[in-house]
């Protein structure tokens, strides 16, 4: 158990394993995204009330789900950073934030594009949209803090704490926003799913959700791998990796006491 745990937290091990897995995950992502897009755009039936604008849901809902779980994962990585001080978690924390922010942005914009033909307005202060906007602010905060601190692991630890504070606050924010919404708005603008969605409608949604998670995994792995190359420069395996031709000369110079 413990050796497994140490292995998992070692950047070298992650780099090698993720290198093997990445092509497969990328293939799966392309496959799922392709199938999902075709099904969502061409095969799913139009909604009897909203017509074809309903198809935007297949983008909006997966990105909204992913936006929230990205923040969760970021905070979990933050917890690992603060408790166990694992370098890999620091890298993951740093790499999730920009993706999370962009996917939150996507959820917000697609929500607007969906809203306009459906309710005639780009933006309503409904509970979900507002919560999503606040989530975007939370991401901005983490990204801004990250970029303001020069020391890499210091920045990671500060962001870890901030994302944990954010995680504790998210349920409170959500609750307060929902509560505020019921006060100020009659329920006409509510974006409730139809209780009985036919299979042709929810299957593409399921596929798209999986596809979004796969794309996220691919992006995260690629970013973390770059981060490893950046931060693990001092280790021999990274040096060998980036410059195989120089391999022998390093070894000989070390042997000759060149350092």
């Amino acid at each position: 158990m413990w050796t497994w745990y140490h292995k998992l937290s070692s950047p070298k091990w992650f780099y090698q394993l993720s290198g093997q897995w990445l092509p497969w995950i990328a293939c799966a992502a392309v496959l799922f995204l392709g199938t999902g897009l075709v099904m969502a755009l061409a095969y799913a039936p139009a909604d009897y009330q909203q017509g074809n604008s309903f198809r935007i849901m297949y983008i909006h809902v997966p990105s909204a789900i992913l936006a929230q779980s990205c923040y969760m994962m970021m905070a979990v990585a933050g917890g690992i950073v603060l408790i166990w001080r694992i370098k890999l978690a620091e890298m993951v924390l740093k790499c999730i934030a920009p993706f999370g922010a962009s996917i939150t942005f996507l959820a917000l914009v697609t929500g607007g594009i969906w809203g306009y033909p459906t309710w005639g307005t780009w933006w309503v202060w409904d509970a979900r949209g507002t919560s999503m906007l606040i989530l975007l602010f939370l991401y901005f905060g983490v990204i801004a803090l990250q970029s303001a601190i020069n020391n890499t692991s210091g920045a990671a630890r500060a962001c870890a704490l901030l994302s944990l504070v954010g995680l504790v606050n998210i349920p409170i924010i959500k609750y307060s926003v929902e509560w505020w919404n019921t006060l100020h708005q009659p329920a006409t603008f509510k974006l409730t799913e139809k209780p009985s969605m036919p299979m042709e409608m929810w299957l593409p949604l399921l596929i798209m959700v999986v596809a979004f998670y796969l794309v996220f995994t691919v992006v995260l792995i690629m970013r973390v791998r770059n981060e490893i190359l950046e931060r693990e420069y001092k280790t021999n395996w990274v040096r060998k990796l980036i410059d195989p031709s120089a391999d022998r000369s390093i070894k000989s110079s070390v042997k000759n006491g060149g350092e």
């Binding site: 017509g51 983008i59 992006v219 980036i242 120089a246 000369s249």
Partner: protein, 62 residues
């Protein structure tokens, strides 16, 4: 297939603009997220290689 013709598929009822712009934006955002680390990897590797070479030169001159 839900649509009768390719034109109907493009038109999406009256909602073509909205549907296609939403999907377009999604594709653009996802591809940017995928392409950015790919480009960045080249930059990082080039940077670290230059650093390695500098150090090797320094060692050689010592």
């Amino acid at each position: 297939m839900y649509f009768d013709s390719f034109e109907a598929f493009l038109a999406m009822g009256k909602h073509g603009v909205y549907v296609w712009s939403a999907y377009g934006l999604a594709i653009v955002l996802l591809s940017v997220n995928v392409i950015a680390p790919l480009l960045n990897k080249r930059k990082v590797v080039a940077k670290q290689q230059a650093r390695l070479r500098r150090e090797q030169q320094k060692r050689a001159s010592n």
